[in-house]
Symmetry: C2
Subunit: 111 residues, 2 copies
């Protein structure tokens, strides 16, 4: 009985920790598969070809997820992104964020 209580407490603590960090699925491969629509403006590996669309390659997952949630909630406004973000689930957002964060970039400043 004591062991069961301990297990239940541990399971509860893990669930609480997950809830507190807002943890969801973070699956870069699923994010890559979901990124077909994103590619139109942000390029196949997150290097944009559109002057008013940002590069997403290597962006921190926390940042990308926060922006997608802000577009979905309407607190960050953009005609196209608002429409697209409203179709995304929390898992979609976290997977897309994981995909873009998994891309590596090297930057070189002009001399």
């Amino acid at each position: 009985m004591r062991t069961n209580s301990l297990r239940a407490s541990l399971a509860g603590a893990v669930l609480l920790a997950l809830a507190c960090t807002g943890a969801h699925a973070r699956d870069a491969a699923a994010g890559r598969a979901k990124s077909q629509v994103c590619m139109v403006c942000h390029g196949p590996v997150g290097v944009s070809t559109t002057p008013d669309a940002p590069h997403l390659a290597a962006q921190p997952a926390i940042y990308v997820a926060a922006q997608l949630r802000a577009y979905r909630a309407g607190t960050r406004k953009h005609e196209v992104m608002g429409v697209i973000a409203r179709t995304l689930t929390d898992d979609d957002i976290d997977n897309l964020a994981a995909w873009y964060a998994s891309i590596q970039i090297e930057a070189e400043a002009p001399r």
Copy 2:
């Protein structure tokens, strides 16, 4: 007299063109010099070291300038960026945008 009129017309056309495109100074070196504050979160060459700050390296100038103007106007909201953007002139914004756009990036997707 005809030459002077022609010159005046040309000068007027150039001014009109500048006004229509909203053209300002775009001086990447001045932008780099101005970017001391930006570096704190976005890194010395626009590669962020802060999980909630985006990489700015190679971002399209039009995008960066639009975001800085949105932060300045309060239409895009972020506690820190709102405060910083309110200190920037139009020239500062265009120069910062030119600086970040002048950085080259290479992106590599995971295998």
